[in-house]
């Protein structure tokens, strides 16, 4: 009974982790799909299998993300900002600012020395401010999302998008493709546009170092590099950055189930 589960149901991907003694034991990621409830169940089943566990081994489960309500087997729901903060704190103890680049939005969170959230901001309700912009353009370029970063990294002259809208950006990308502009320059242009939006979001909260980046967007190494040069700082990138929020949920599951005294 010393394993803990965190499940993060996002708009596109659902992530789950199992931890023991604050260490990652197993993780699983699936597409959220149309039925969040079955996605949550599938993650639980898979996590238990991967960890060689039984359902009874899980002492506590916490759910987070926009679809957290669908994780009926969780004991509690936790706010995703708090989960991201806890997750990053578990990986990089000193983190003072964390940028979470998700599909639906980008969130910037400030933490104090104790890892407690002191402030946060979320990108406007606009697809051009989150990873969705990359998904849309990857579709235009007919490339896999995982190839987007490596492709963009090859570019020496990224294009400049004349629009701040993902829908108009899509048309613009199609036009550039038809003009024969290399794919890498278009991909790098998307990273540039997104990085500038994200950087202004960070500047709004004032950057305090060290700064970490997580969420699916952090898998795009070229994007991370572009944000680094915009902010003029080095970013900490955790392994499997898309799991950080689920990890935070598992940490909260641990601390909320264990008596305060044993936390030290």
């Amino acid at each position: 009974m010393s394993w803990f589960m965190g499940i993060d149901i996002g708009s596109v991907y659902s992530k789950g982790v199992v931890t023991k003694d604050f260490q990652l034991v197993a993780s699983h990621i699936i597409i959220s799909g149309a039925n969040y409830r079955t996605s949550a169940e599938a993650i639980r089943t898979e996590l238990i299998k991967k960890g060689n566990l039984t359902e009874d081994d899980i002492a506590n489960t916490i759910a987070t993300g926009s679809g957290a309500d669908n994780v009926y087997f969780a004991s509690q729901k936790a706010n995703d900002i708090v989960c991201t903060a806890r997750g990053i704190n578990n990986v990089f103890l000193q983190t003072r600012t964390v940028i979470d680049i998700a599909s639906q939005s980008t969130r910037v969170i400030r933490l104090n020395e104790e890892g407690i959230v002191t402030n946060f901001t979320v990108s406007e309700k606009c697809a051009a401010g989150g990873g969705r912009f990359i998904e849309v353009i990857a579709n235009v370029l007919r490339i896999d999302l995982s190839d987007f970063g490596p492709l963009a990294a090859k570019s020496s002259s990224p294009i400049t998008f004349s629009t701040g809208c993902a829908v108009f950006g899509e048309s613009e990308a199609i036009t550039r493709v038809s003009e024969g502009v290399p794919k890498e320059d278009i991909a790098a242009g998307v990273n540039k546009a997104l990085a500038s939006k994200i950087s202004s979001l960070v500047k709004k909260l004032k950057l305090e170092e060290p700064c970490a980046v997580c969420g699916g967007g952090a898998l795009n190494i070229a994007l991370v590099k572009t944000i680094e040069s915009e902010l003029n700082t080095d970013l900490l990138v955790p392994p499997q950055p898309q799991l950080i929020t689920a990890l935070g949920a598992a940490i909260i599951a641990t601390t909320s189930a264990t008596p305060e005294s044993s936390e030290n």
């Binding site: 708009s11 639906q104 406007e124 697809a127 993902a166 108009f168 038809s178």
Partner: protein, 284 residues
Amino acid sequence: MYFAGVDIGSTMTKVVLIDKSSNLLSTIKGPTGPEHRQLANEVMRQALEQASLQIDDISYIVATGYGRLNVPFADRQITELSCHAKGVSSLFPNVQTAIDIGGQDAKCMKIANGRLINFVMNDKCAAGTGRFLEVTAATLGIRLEAMGDISLKATKKIQISSLCTIFAQQEVVALLSRGEKLENILAGLHDALASRIAALARRLGIEPDLVLTGGVAKNIGMVRAIKESLGCEILVPEEPLLTGALGAAILAKGIYMKAVVTGEALPTKARRLEKATFFSQEHR
């Protein structure tokens, strides 16, 4: 004496031919493709054919719209704002406010005595333009032209909470899977766009008569939704797509007539239509 206005919009290309009394001789609409110059030639040829005229018969040609620089035979380029204001006030002499909603932008214009005096526009966010309806129509698998009619059958309006076209697209899919009725979703989509247009128009101040033009004005559901959002009567021309091209033709006439009166020399381009060869070999 004949005059022509060519309006190359993001979605549609329009040509209007008029005579010296501003009577409409011919109007042509065609979808704007990637080859603006070819298309301009082609729609012009069709318009001339319809009016049984030759290109040499046209005294002056004005091009407008965002593709106006791609009309090789145009004598002058004039912004679509001026052309719309002129076209709308020729049809509705008492117009004071005009709203034009196209596939790529939305413009609100203040007009006094047939002249543009102020405007606001949105070309930054697809959610405030006709593109919002185009994208959601594609998601719902219905024809753009059918959207308005279906929306009028709504028994309730489902509020669309997303401000972004891409997120609205996703919200619509979720609403459908929840079993919401198509007409109720559509009514909500129309209201969402209308409220953004209304916010834009209010920045300028609304005075009657209010005229709605652009492709979106052909959507009866949008006319209803904007009317409710603004709480005032809305006039719609018979051919709401053509006001820009019509204004361009009327301005062409004005420029030419003024030159005749003052005796000034008016340079014109060669009256020659290139042969339209769409997607020619060299482009492949």
